[in-house]
Amino acid sequence: MQTLRLVLAVAVSLALAPYAAAQESVRIGVVQPTTGPVAYDGNIYVNTVKMLVDDMNAKGGVLGRKIELVVEDGACNPAQSVNAAEKLVVRDKVVALLGAFCSTSTAAVMEVAKKHKVPLITGISTAAQLTEQGNPYFFRAVATTPMLGNAFGGVLPKAVKAKRFAFLVLNDDWGRSMAASYPKTIENAGGQVVATEFFQQSDLQFLSQITKVKAANPDAIVLAANTQQAVALSKQIRELGISVPLIGEGAWTSDSYIKLAGPASEDVYGLVEYVYTIKSPINEAFVKAFQAKLKENPSKFAGAAHNAISIMVDAIRRAGAADPEKIRDALEKTDYNGIVGNIRFDAKHQAYGQTVYLAHVKNGVPEVVETAQIAKP
C-alpha cells in the first residue's frame, strides 16, 4: 500500500509537471533532426539554440521568466516531424516552435502550427513554396534558394572566373529549385549552364554523375548538399581528376566540412547565409562563445539557429506575454539586427534585408569574397 501510494504520488506529480513548469518558464519547442541523414547538422542547430538560451537565461530570461527548450527529433522525416510538433504543442504546451530543417518536414510541421495556432520559425528550410502558402503562423528567417540565386547568380561568372557552369544537386525541392533559379541569372551575366545532374539523399557515391558532369567540360560546378554528402562529393570530384572551382550551397564552408574533406575543400566557394569569418561585433562575440562551448567554429546551421531563436525571443519580449497569438503578431513587426545584418518579414513572412555571403576556402579558412543583400521580394 505504501509503495502504491508513493507510485501514485510520483505519477500525479509527473503528469502535472508540465503545467507547473509552464507557469514558471516560457517554453519553446524545437523540432530538428538529431538522428537520420542530416543528424550532424541538426545537432549543431540544437546545441547552438541550447547555448544561446542558457546565455539568455543567465541574463534574466525573457519577460522575467526562464526560457525552457523542449527538443524533439524530427529525423528530416515529415511524419516524424509532425508527431514531434504535435507532442510539443499538445503535451508540452510550448508557445512557439522552431523547425524543422528539411523543407518537406517544415511543410508538414507548418500545418501543425496552423492547426494549433502556434508561431513557427524556420532558419534553414529554403524551398520557395513554403512562404507561398499564406500560412499565418509560419515565418522564414532565411533567404530562399531563388532569392540566393537572384542575389548571387549574376555575380558568379565574374567572382569565380568561369563561363561554363555545371549543376550537380540534391534531388529534392532544394536542389530542384536551385537548378531552376540560378541558370537565368547566370546566363544574364554571360555564363552558360552546360549540364544539370541530380543525386539522391541516400547516395554515398556520385561517380556516375561526376563522370557525366566531366563530359560536359565545365569551368565551375555548382552543388547543393549538406555536410555528409558535400564531403563525399568534393573528394570524389577531385579523385576523378576535375580541378575546376566548386561552388556549393549548404554546408560548404563549415569547419567540419573543411576538416573532413581535407585538401579537397581547397578552392571551394560556399554560397552561404552565414560564415563564421563575418566581421561584426555581434558575430565575433557569438563565434567566441561558440568556440568556448562547442570547440569548433559555428557553421551556417549554427548561424540559422542564432537567427531563429533570437528573432523568436525578441518577438516574445515585444509581445509582452507568452501568448502564441501575441507572439505571432509581434513576429510580423520584426526588425531585428543580428549576425547577418537586419532582418524583417514581408507580407508572406519571408525574411529580407539580410546579407548573404560568397566565401572562398583558402588554406582551410573560408574568406568572404563577395556579399549581397537579399532584396524585398
Binding site: 538522428t35 554515398l204 557515391q205 563522370t211 573528394k235 577531385r238
Partner: protein, 290 residues
C-alpha cells in the same frame, strides 16, 4: 580515345568498382540467408561498424592503415559472434517472421548505439594513398580505388574458394541443402551457424573498412547498404553465391550506365526496376540457390 569512349570507359570502371563492393556485401547477406534462413536487416550495420572501427583504429589509436583494416574486421566478427550466441542461436527454430523482426530491431539498436557512441558526424578513414588521381588514356582513378577494387575482388575469390573448396564450406553447403540431413551425418549445425554469421558479418565489415576511405561512414549508413544488398540478393537469387557476385556487378554497372546515360535522378530506381522484372519473370533470381 574519342571522348565518348573515354566517358563510357569511366562509367564502366565506376560500375565495376561499386559493383565489386555490392557483391562483397551481398555475399555475406546471402550466406546468412542460405545457411541460417535469416533475412538479416542488420547486415548494413556490420558494414557501418567495420567503417567506424577502422576509422577509430587509424585516426585515434594511430594504427597502421593496413593493420587496422583486418583488425576492424576481427572486432566486428567478435561482436557478431556475441550477437549470434546471445540472440540467433536461441531463434534457430523460430519462424522467419520472428528472426526478421529481430534483425530489424537489431539494426535500429546498432544504428543508435553508434550514434550514441560516436555521434552523428560522418567520418572518412585516413588512407596512406596519394590523393592525386591516376589517369589512363583520360580514364581517371585513384590508388585508393584500385586498392579497394583489389581487396574486394580478392575477398570475393577467397570467399568463393572457402565455400567451394574447404571442408567447412562443404559443411555449410550441406546445411544449406538440408539442415536435418547435415546434422544426421555429423555436421554440428550450431557451429555452422556461428561460422556463417561471422563470415557474413566479416564480409560486410571488410567492405565498410575498405570503402570508408572514400565513402564517409556515419551511423545511418547501414540502411542504404542493407537495401542495396537485398536488391543484389534478390537479383542474383536468395542464397546463391554466384548470384550475389554476378548480381552485385550487374547492379553496379546498371546504376553507373543508367545514371550515366539517363537522367541521373533515376539512378536508384534502376535497381528497383530490375528487382521488379526479376520477381515477375524469374522469381527464383538469376541463379538458383547453390
Amino acid at each position: 580515345m574519342s571522348p565518348s569512349i573515354t566517358i563510357l570507359a569511366q562509367h564502366l570502371l565506376n560500375g565495376v568498382l561499386i559493383g565489386c563492393a555490392y557483391a562483397l556485401i551481398a555475399m555475406g547477406l546471402t550466406m546468412i540467408f542460405g545457411v541460417m534462413n535469416i533475412a538479416n536487416f542488420a547486415h548494413g550495420e556490420f558494414y557501418m561498424l567495420g567503417g567506424f572501427v577502422a576509422f577509430y583504429l587509424v585516426s585515434l589509436i594511430g594504427l597502421n592503415y593496413f593493420a587496422a583494416l583486418p583488425l576492424a574486421v576481427v572486432v566486428v566478427v567478435a561482436l557478431a559472434l556475441v550477437l549470434q550466441h546471445a540472440i540467433f542461436r536461441r531463434l534457430r527454430e523460430a519462424p522467419m517472421m520472428t528472426t526478421t523482426l529481430v534483425t530489424i530491431g537489431l539494426s535500429i539498436f546498432l544504428e543508435n548505439f553508434a550514434l550514441l557512441l560516436w555521434g552523428p558526424q560522418p567520418q572518412s578513414i585516413p588512407t596512406p594513398f596519394a590523393t592525386k588521381p591516376l589517369s589512363f588514356l583520360g580514364v581517371y582513378t585513384t590508388p585508393l580505388y584500385v586498392f579497394c577494387m583489389g581487396v574486394t575482388v580478392a575477398l570475393i575469390i577467397v570467399g568463393h574458394v572457402l565455400i567451394r573448396r574447404t571442408r567447412m564450406g562443404k559443411a555449410m553447403r550441406a546445411t544449406f541443402q538440408n539442415k536435418e540431413a547435415a546434422a544426421l551425418v555429423g555436421i554440428r549445425i550450431d557451429r555452422i551457424y556461428a561460422y556463417a554469421f561471422a563470415f557474413g558479418a566479416a564480409l560486410a565489415a571488410a567492405a565498410g573498412a575498405v570503402l570508408g576511405g572514400f565513402i564517409p561512414v556515419e551511423p545511418a549508413t547501414g540502411g542504404i547498404v542493407t537495401l542495396k544488398a537485398f536488391i543484389v540478393v534478390i537479383l542474383g537469387g536468395m542464397g546463391s553465391f554466384v548470384g550475389a557476385i554476378v548480381g552485385g556487378l550487374v547492379l553496379g554497372l546498371a546504376e553507373a550506365l543508367g545514371a550515366g546515360y539517363m537522367p541521373s535522378g533515376w539512378k536508384d530506381a534502376i535497381g528497383f526496376f530490375a528487382v521488379i522484372l526479376v520477381l515477375l519473370f524469374r522469381p527464383e533470381g538469376l541463379f538458383k540457390r547453390a
